[in-house]
């Protein structure tokens, strides 16, 4: 459950980061970040962050669930921010890999 929450938080932060031209450029796709794409990324990012709260609440009651959620948000954000300048490809790849892994852990556990 918590790995799913972490994965969703990480993906959400990446989406929010990509919505900014500076970080979009770090991926060097050659393509431009249009206004529409930025809007979708921003909405999607916030939605993923909000969604990451749900597995936390499934595991713990409200008080502890919020504490756990904030801790996971911090960990996901720290990972992304310090990975992005050094390994942007890997940072992007993780956003794709982590959610399925999180779901797998959920199903297996």
């Amino acid at each position: 459950m918590t790995s799913l929450a972490f994965a969703l938080a990480y993906a959400g932060f990446l989406a929010l980061a990509l919505a900014r031209p500076r970080h979009w450029a770090q991926f060097r796709t050659g393509r431009e970040l249009g206004k529409g794409k930025a809007m979708i990324l921003r909405l999607g990012g916030w939605a993923l962050l909000a969604a990451s709260l749900l597995p936390c609440l499934a595991v713990e009651a409200w008080g502890l669930g919020l504490v756990l959620w904030l801790g996971l948000l911090t960990a996901a954000a720290l990972l992304l921010v310090f990975l992005l300048p050094y390994r942007p490809r890997l940072a992007g790849l993780l956003a794709g890999l982590l959610p399925p892994l999180g779901l797998l852990a959920l199903v297996a556990g």
Binding site: T2, F13, L16, A17, R20, R22, H23, G63, L64, V67, L68, L70, G71, L72, T74, A75, A77, L78, L80, V81, F82, L84, P85, Y86
Partner: protein, 512 residues
Amino acid sequence: MKNGFRQSMAWLHTWSGLLAGWLLFAVFLTGTASYYRDEISLWMRPELQLAPVAPAGAAERGLARLRALSPLADEWLLDLPDSRQPILTVMARGDGKAAPRFLREYLDPASGLPIRARETYGGDFLYYFHFDLQTPNPWGRLVVGLAAMFMLVGIVSGVITHRRIFRDFFTFRSGRGQRSWLDAHNAMGVLALPYHLMITYSGLVTLMVLYMPWGIDAAYPEGRAAFNDALFGEPPPQQRSGRPADLAALEPLFAAAARHWQGDLPGRLIVTNPGDAEASILLRRGDEARLSYAAEVLVFQGASGRLLEAGAPAGAAEATRGVLYGLHLGRFADPLLRALFFLSGLAGSGMVATGLLLWVVKRRPDPGQGPAGFGHRLVERLNVGVLAGLPIAIAAHFWSNRLLPLELTPALGGRGEWEGGCFFLAWLAMLLHGFARPPAAGWREQLWLSAGLFALLPLLNALTTDRHLGNSLFRGDWALAGFDLVMLASGLLLALLARKAERIAAKRGANS
């Protein structure tokens, strides 16, 4: 002041950070280590191999030991083992005449006899240092509290000053000198901001009775003891009747406690007037299964075991304080959440450290402009001795635990004191080294030394005891295995920092 609001906040942020920074770094780093206080204690007592025991039986053995040591005490206290630490601690308080004024023993809960392990404070040394700097009450607590207030000012002023807090949320530009230090400082501050606010404010709340006593003193003019009794739910002391009586069996009391507390266990047991007909037994709920630290107590008649009172539920103020206190200690946290707290604590330590480093880098005079002023040189060298020196002191403390003789002659004093002495001596040596050496050399030498000390600690462990990493991994002993693994990881991290320091110095050397 003619400056704008943001500029004033920037000035405030810089000054509060600079004045309190080194102390805050020490408090943050040792506090972060204290999340694993019990595990550190286990590592520092490698002789100890205690199996978990049923709690009521352990408590009965503790009472038997106390009966043998101090039958006429006014009060017996037992701290029961829990999932993090296996030792049964027993204490007795007496009048000094019929019974000793105070005694304490650490027992094996299975046998009820004192543990046989090297004398050490374990993780308690760093834990106490974290809030009292190992000084007599209340001086250290006052200084740390003052620093924590500076920290709150620093956090709030930092957030106000950080103009592009949302735009630069994900920004970290590496290899850009001052820019990179600022980005790192911002990242570690902002990304863990809820934690930093919580830990600083809750830290002040845990000692709020010390920092703001006047309301309590006004409400309880008869004295602080009355307030403490009301807060901790302890029954007012009754006189001994003089009629001897045995204590009731504990098993039914523990069962009653489990019914009241949804299956949770007692953490502390207090027997007042033991051995007398007017004895009472107080059970205080343990802190592992709940967030709030507010006391939950059950008081039983000592001789009969009848429930006298189930402490009233906490009022709003006490409940709020309980939650904040509980959040600060984090004892409710399972391994994952505790690791997340630890990570956030490291981020906080890094935030303070990068702030101090940024101050130096920003004010470094350009190559043609002559030498730096006294203040700049002082801060730069103090940074070395504190930021690189404190980890060395911590490592030296752990090394001393393995290297000091197991038995010290009484004339030399307590072995635990000597381990603490090694911490302070090592830190003093590093502070002096930081002043003696040019900063680039100082950073390089101290960072490599600390990397070596941490990375080699598991090896030292293997050479001096049989509780080494291979052994503890094989047996699933995660406290000791985790400690050794974290030491290795810390050594690796410090080695990376040492390499970074060398590269930065080389780049500066090439530019000047």
